[in-house]
Symmetry: C2
Subunit: 597 residues, 2 copies
């Protein structure tokens, strides 16, 4: 029975490209993409992608060549998610918040052959290309070593009716490419679903950026998983508040096509644009980091529109704080919390809501919703393990272990990094580096990044737990807790906080004191977890993707030493060592400067 | 980039077995299965399946051996959908409506090693085994030719607290198997997703039963497709009105696990049980053929319960007639129409509802809903083609062609039938044998089985189109149209109808006349499509799965000849040729006898 042969009719490569083919066939006249005055149907989007793919091939692009893109959430960015793989190439969307140096690094590492640049990012791209050119010149020996040498990619600018003139970079323009392409182009057949479709560089909170490679198979399965996990029904109207350069928009670039929905593009996440588009196009779904909740909540009255229907939000990156949840849901949004990482093709866990929770008090509901949840359906297995023994932790909501994943939605590996790849995989699992627990009901909750665990007197302290408490303090806007050296306990928690804006006129020092924060923690935490030091900053340092840069905070904290007489937890008095090491900061002015990086 | 190696962490075989593993991890304490007083959680179902799989292995069951089951929709039947493949074997669920001879044929052809029999079907199974034994005895030469010889399978009876005593067949009993199994059994790893999980024999409306083989991959993808196509959300409560032996319950055996839902089992589809279970367990979803609508609608007042919530119905097998749709939906059911076939692992098309249709008159809505719809998302492509040229028909809703499918949800092939398999596949497509059109909006509509097309004077006549009209006649209960020989036009349509019960006391002849039916058709159809002959039957002959046996009607129709003077469509008078051929029937008594087959 197992010798029945595969044939073209019963064995087709799993690829998100079929979602577009199907959308063009089944939903031909439905609106696929809206961007201000521009509107396409699925039939048109398919036609445009075929043309673009054909034009790319005519530029001698070869199979598995990389095509990089630096663009916001505009129709071109959406189309490239199909057109680039339809040309047999690999899509590399670059985080637009990166600086020229980082972009040059990515272009070099990915060996991009073509580089699409939105007009808005032409200056940054020009700088990046200059760095790339200089690097090539300064390293003539690299010419012989393919790994480090790189000829400049061919640049194609994405123009816009709103673009100022004179920003051209190179001769080619996106719409011209579409215009000159052949709509009868027959796309490259994906012979092997285990072939690359996308290359995404991690933002690197804890290490150097890594090139994460997705297969067609993985992208396909993850896309279906998320539609299922979020229960995104038919005819969704999806607002692009999440950058498409984040794990290909958590796969919803492909997912909206799978559902025959409508993509509402957004050049930037301004509150007025979010509200306007929701009202105008009856948006049903959007994804975003919790930071976008703040944008929505802080909108001026003139920018706001009343929501006439529920808008589903899928959020991730950080658990949504309870107060933020309550506020955003009171406006008519409904929030689902997901957890994932670039290596897992976006969300790997979704906090699936259970009907029996509807009757619980709001506060408990928020706590349940802040958990990371259960695995998406195409994940073969998810577990929390003691990595030394590879044993699963008990489902007690207390015992911590590392979250490990396996399934066809996990990346193929890191590009040109066999050591990093084999470090990430081990014993048949992908190791997330996140530390969590399993609750008795099977829901996972993250307690920390493994690097963020503070080991104090042999006890593991979860920095996330202290942070959660700090976020509940009425005056705290942002909080991060890292390890600082401690003469007696080895490490102890060091707190960095920024305070809420409305009291900015007050002196930082006089607003809330370090002693008050520590007293607040003592009241609410086990003694061993109480921080020994609190530093106030105007804003915490963040990565380009908005994640708090614990790495930088750790450098600062290393420079602090708690005086031994405070180690008995009886006093909140701390002293600051003047012997600041490399990268350290010895006064609040410098700390504030860092925060603006 | 394409040389990144697969590993256990990022490449796992797609198999529905992961849905159970995941349900046990994520929804451990949720109710998995309810059957009258019996109730299990997902954790218990997983435990029971592990035990059963272990017991099966201990019976020396080898990988890819077939395990046959003759049982209604009871918990054991559900569990075997996981336990049998967890033991590395292939599940063969047998249609309980088949007779002993057909069952023996299936047991012989599948070479079943184990045969599970529900107590209710022990007499039938005993007869089947006797036939199998006799066949073995009578064909001693077969012992040397593996294809036709078959030692008897090991029989395991599924007992029940309600079963009468003394019906045992063999020594083994299902619950004992579970009881003695080891819950720490490590299931067989599915190394290759292109390996068989199930073997389903087609009911054969037009030909001999064929053994359709599903792969783990195909079953997995089809399961996800249907959850998506039907938009089955979280925590479904699924009532088993569709036999699990139909394409493994259109994949919802596996799908309810994927959703962490609850299976409400039903031993038989009595109206009182359907209403009672819906009310008691707050059923949200059920699948069924339109015939079940009749059961629900014809329920006595005492059997009915008011629906307090909408129950989603997925229906297929035949387009739901408009009047039936309106009646069933007025009770609180909401119907979605799907189209599929055993070879496509159940539904391949779903008539996805579009919001803009909500404003249309009910009649138009019913017409739209009766269309077969758009491909499920994991189907790589669906088309309607002229098989001679392999060109797609225009999307005009008129031009007919054969519906062809491709995708990983299509069967691996027919078991031990390479000729049949290669006939079904050709030019990279699976040929459904169904004739349809594509409407301008991309929705497919079936006009006929390719064998059911009547070619009259060079014109193709869709028998389905005439049947649809006949079903709208107030007195018609069932209708089937087949080709009959015609001296001038080659073929002409011959109608078989049964009339509604409430007038059964009337003479069949005097109730509605042939002339009236033909006049009704003339009023509503193009002239060339008007039937030349109408035969009244008490009930149309059906297959064990309730499909009208057009094959038998065609045999009868062959015996009829329209007199040439009626071939100009001016008269509805027809004469019946007495020269009845083999298998023909020359009077209404014989026709009525046939209808009770």
């Amino acid at each position: 029975m197992d010798n029945l042969p595969k044939c073209q009719a019963n064995y087709t490569a799993l690829t998100p490209l079929t979602f577009l083919l199907r959308a063009a066939a089944c939903y031909a006249n439905r609106t696929s993409v809206i961007h201000e005055g521009t509107r396409f149907t699925w039939s048109q989007t398919y036609d445009r992608c075929l043309r673009l793919a054909n034009s790319l091939r005519s530029l001698n692009l070869a199979t598995n060549n990389v095509v990089s893109v630096l663009a916001p959430n505009i129709p071109a960015m959406y189309e490239m998610h199909f057109a680039v793989p339809m040309a047999g190439a690999v899509l590399n969307t670059i985080n637009t918040r990166l600086d020229a140096k980082n972009i040059a690094t990515i272009l070099r590492h990915s060996e991009a052959k073509i580089f699409f640049v939105d007009y808005e990012f032409v200056p940054k791209a020009r700088d990046a290309l200059r760095l790339l050119m200089d690097n090539n010149k300064n390293n003539p020996t690299n010419q012989q070593h393919n790994t480090f040498s790189h000829s400049l990619p061919l640049v194609i600018v994405i123009d816009d009716i709103n673009s100022p003139t004179g920003i051209r970079l190179g001769e080619l323009e996106y719409e011209q490419m579409i215009h000159h392409g052949n709509p009868n182009y027959v796309p490259e057949t994906i012979q092997d679903e285990w072939s690359p479709i996308a290359l995404n560089y991690t933002s690197g909170t804890t290490s150097e950026p890594k090139g994460v490679v997705y297969s067609h198979r993985g992208a396909y399965l993850s896309t279906l998983s998320l539609i299922l996990g979020w229960e995104m029904g038919g005819e969704p109207v999806y607002l692009w508040t999440l950058p498409m350069f984040h794990c290909n928009g958590w796969t919803f670039t492909w997912g909206v096509a799978a559902r025959g929905g409508t993509n509402v593009c957004l050049r930037s996440t301004l509150a007025c644009d979010i509200y306007r588009n929701i009202a105008l196009h009856k948006v049903t779904h959007m994804c975003c980091a919790p930071i976008v909740f703040n944008i929505v909540l802080e909108a001026k009255a003139s920018e706001r529109r009343e929501l006439k229907h529920t808008v589903e939000i899928l959020t991730g990156g950080a658990p949504p704080p309870a107060s933020l949840l309550e506020q955003i849901e009171s406006l008519g949004f409904h929030v689902t919390h997901a957890y994932g990482l670039t290596e897992a093709t976006g969300p790997a866990l979704v906090c699936e809501w259970q009907k029996m929770w509807n009757g619980l008090p709001k506060k408990e509901q928020a706590q349940l919703k802040a958990r990371q949840g259960v695995s998406v359906v195409t994940m073969a297995d998810v577990d929390v393990k003691n990595l030394d023994t590879m044993e699963s932790v008990p489902r007690d909501g207390k015992t911590m272990g590392e979250i490990v994943l396996k399934g066809s939605g996990i990346m193929m590996g890191y590009f040109k990094d066999p050591v990093g790849t084999s470090r990430a995989f081990g014993n048949g699992w992908f190791k997330t580096g996140d530390v969590g627990v399993v609750h008795p009901d099977g829901y996972l909750e993250i307690k920390d990044r493994s690097k963020d665990v503070i080991i104090s007197g042999g006890e593991n302290i979860s920095s996330v737990e202290i942070e959660s408490l700090l976020y509940r303090h009425p005056r705290v806007l942002e909080a991060a807790v890292v390890a600082m050296p401690h003469p007696r306990w080895g490490e102890s928690p060091c707190v960095f906080v920024s305070l809420k804006k409305n009291n900015l006129n007050h002196s930082l020092k006089n607003d809330v004191t370090e002693a008050q924060i520590i007293a607040y923690c003592r009241k609410n935490l086990p003694h061993f977890m109480v921080p020994k030091m609190v530093k106030f900053m105007e804003e915490l340092p963040k990565t380009s993707t908005g994640k708090i840069q614990k790495f930088e905070l750790r450098v600062m904290a290393k420079a602090f030493v708690v005086s031994e007489n405070n180690s008995n937890n009886k006093s909140s008095q701390v002293s600051q060592n003047n012997n600041i090491g490399v990268g350290g900061y010895n006064n609040s002015e410098q700390i504030l400067a860092v925060s603006r990086l």
